[in-house]
């Protein structure tokens, strides 16, 4: 079988499969979808639950996917994909991909049950969590993937409570604990790495999962032209990591020798503006603990 030419940023297809939508300027979520869809191509069945991406692209009469797409209910991106995949099997379809795009809340909170079930069945679907670290569509409310200290409209920077009280759920470990065939973390700040991982997921014969950091300038209070740079900085300061889990083995795609200061990353974002030095140190402590665990376990 001829090996497909490796997709790079330079040879990505011209064809846009997610376009004309009404996402905010600088939206990391829509950038994720645009890139992923270029890799997956038109023979794709897309599921998007109730979130920003469906709100900006399924609003009658303007439909913004250039392929089959279904706007599903919030808790069941994975279950809807399983139904599509089962029907595709029943109809003996060939050369197609089933993908879902859910946000952090749609994945790690309300969508976790359905995602777990789909991985358990090992349905051949690609589940993509684009993580902008809060319920952005409803106006920036706290989710299980909102980081410690971040201000949201339900974890305000108040007099006695200073933003989110707990740390981000360890979603990657939750997913890999299922023994999933392929899982990876990625970032819109590292598009080539992201493209490589989407290509791997597309080739995977079972369930695959990508957790993609996708900053939201609106919710994070950062300039709209800083989406990619702030995503890069998250990796550079060690608050996000690029990793893969394949055939039971973990792999770090980027292992920074030293981290840039967390404070530099934090101070640029309005959502962290209220944090004091102790709280920033707590974020660093948690970061370091995560990396110790990564280096020990992986």
């Amino acid at each position: 079988m001829a090996e497909n030419k490796k997709m790079t940023l330079n040879n990505l297809p011209e064809e846009e499969l997610f376009f004309g939508h009404k996402a905010c300027p600088g939206c990391g979520g829509s950038l994720t979808l645009r890139l992923v869809m270029k890799v997956l191509g038109p023979n794709t069945f897309v599921v998007v639950p109730a979130n920003c991406m469906s709100a900006v692209s399924f609003y009658y009469p303007a439909m913004n996917f250039g392929c089959n797409a279904l706007a599903s209910a919030f808790p069941c991106t994975a279950a809807t994909m399983s139904g599509i995949e089962a029907a595709a099997r029943a109809k003996k379809l060939e050369d197609y991909t089933v993908v879902g795009f859910a946000g952090d809340g749609g994945t790690a909170d309300i969508g976790l049950q359905a995602l777990s079930g789909a991985i358990d069945r090992n349905d051949r679907i690609i589940y993509i969590c684009y993580d902008n670290e809060a319920y952005m569509n409803t106006g920036v409310q706290e989710s299980g993937l909102t980081p410690f200290g971040a201000k949201t409209t339900t974890s305000p920077a108040g007099k006695v409570q200073h933003g989110k009280l707990t740390h981000k759920k360890n979603l990657f470990d939750i997913i890999t604990a299922h023994g999933i065939p392929y899982a990876a973390t990625a970032s819109v700040g590292y598009p080539q790495d992201l493209i490589n991982k989407v290509a791997k997921a597309k080739a995977c014969q079972g369930t695959s999962f990508l957790h993609i950091m996708a900053p939201c300038p609106t919710g994070w209070s950062v300039p709209i032209d800083s989406t990619v740079s702030v995503a890069k900085e998250a990796v550079e300061c060690g608050l996000w990591y690029l990793a893969e889990y394949e055939n039971g083995e973990y792999k770090l795609n980027k292992d920074p020798k030293e981290f840039t200061p967390v404070g530099d990353y934090i101070r640029k974002q309005g959502r962290f503006k209220h944090l004091n030095e102790d709280e920033i140190r707590e974020i660093e402590r948690q970061r370091d603990a995560t990396w110790v665990r990564i280096h020990e376990k992986w």
């Binding site: 399924f58 009658y60 089959n68 808790p75 029943a90």
Partner: protein, 399 residues
């Protein structure tokens, strides 16, 4: 050649589903529906049914997987009961609003709290507004036959609406009867493979389950509403073809028994109908003119049928195995609305019965008829009453 077998309601329904050859089944177990999903699993595991069985992790996932499957143009089945149906709530209007012809079996069971695994209709009645067709069957034979008819109805291009077939929990799901099993070839001719353009496909990609703003929303709803106007004709057509092919039919939205010159008529839903018919026969034998009207479909609602009751009818009672707390039984509300639409002024009375599996005896039914035979008292008296209620009963200390 058809043959006869001794089957429970669940088993008969599962066999009907097998004969209908769904391409995808997505279901989660719940008492008293479980036998349906167990039998279907057996058929798939033994290769007797070529279907993709999705072992979903919840009823919410069951209905949404069914949505995804039906959106691909695959014949799709799910089944549930009570709490499971309530858990599906979000998905029900997703499926009906998208016009995907999923068929569901619901084993009617009480809703918590107080929780109970026994029969009443409080589960499905909550979803009369969900946009699904709702049909209630009386016995195991009708269960099997309606499993087949339901797919034909849901998938009809004039309908394209999901169908919920309701079986009374335990009373019907777990009761064994002799059931005639139709020949597979005949079923295949009655119910050919599902073909539709209303699906996602690689040849003609589309976006489905869309959002609509205030400028278009009402028009979508208006069309969905008025499409129901045609459903009774389609149901009639399907049932008469079924009768031709299989020798059994069930009328259309409702079935009247000895109502022709009746003075009092009881409206029933589901398995209680058999007992009521027997009481009607007993009373008729005594020269008392009573009849029973079995409401098979609640959506579409048999308004015309109710208005066609003869002038002889002086009082109507409704057996409601459900209760809209603080008001009345839901079937009663619907029956009164139908009478009002036709400007028929007949005294009516609601009989709340069988909640959480409470027994309804033939003597209870006889007493109801005798009460209805005094229309003036019905006109003047309490409109909502409870059958077989014992507020002063001692708790049995021995359980």
């Amino acid at each position: 050649m058809s043959k006869k077998e001794f089957m429970s309601g669940d088993e008969a329904f599962a066999f009907g589903v097998k004969l209908a050859k769904p391409e995808v089944i997505a279901a989660y177990p719940i008492t008293p529906q479980t036998i349906v999903v167990e039998r279907l699993s057996d058929y798939v595991a033994d290769g007797d049914l070529d279907s993709q069985y999705i072992h979903v992790e919840s009823e919410h996932s069951a209905i949404m997987a069914a949505l995804g499957s039906s959106a691909m143009g695959a014949r799709t089945f799910t089944a549930t009961s009570s709490q499971g149906l309530l858990y599906m709530a979000e998905g029900l209007p997703y499926v009906s609003g998208s016009r995907f012809p999923v068929v569901m079996m619901n084993a009617n069971r009480a809703t918590a709290v107080p929780w109970s695994i026994y029969n009443d209709h409080n589960d499905s009645m909550m979803f009369l507004n969900s946009g699904w067709i709702q049909v209630y069957v009386e016995d195991a034979q009708e269960a099997l036959d309606m499993a087949i008819q339901a797919f034909r109805l849901a998938e009809d291009p004039r309908v394209m609406t999901p169908v919920m077939v309701n079986l009374d929990g335990f009373v019907l799901t777990h009761t064994y009867e002799l059931v005639e099993i139709p020949d597979q070839e005949l079923v295949d001719r009655f119910l050919p493979p599902y073909q539709t353009e209303h699906k996602m496909s690689l040849d003609a990609p589309k976006s489905v389950c869309i959002g609509v703003g205030p400028e278009y929303h009402m028009e979508f709803r208006y069309r969905q509403h008025h499409d129901f106007d045609h459903f009774p004709d389609v149901i009639r057509e399907i049932d008469s073809e079924y009768r031709e092919k299989f020798g059994r039919g069930y009328g259309v939205l409702s079935e009247q028994y000895r109502c022709e010159d009746a003075e009092a008529v009881l409206m029933t839903v589901g398995s209680i109908t058999g007992s009521v018919r027997e009481v009607v026969d007993d009373l008729r034998a005594e020269g008392i003119r009573v009849g029973v009207m079995k409401l098979r479909y609640l959506r579409p609602f048999p308004t015309e049928d109710i208005l066609s009751l003869p002038e002889s009818v002086k009082a109507i009672g409704v057996l409601d195995k459900n209760l809209s707390y603080g008001y009345e039984g839901t079937v009663y509300t619907n029956v009164n609305s139908a009478l009002s639409r036709g400007n028929r002024r007949i005294p009516t009375k609601d009989y709340i019965c069988g909640l959480g599996g409470r027994n309804i005896s033939k003597e209870n039914i006889r007493q109801i008829y005798l009460e209805l035979l005094n229309p003036a008292a019905i006109q003047e008296g309490e409109k909502v009453s409870f059958v077989n209620l014992h507020l002063d009963q001692e708790v049995d200390k021995n359980g």
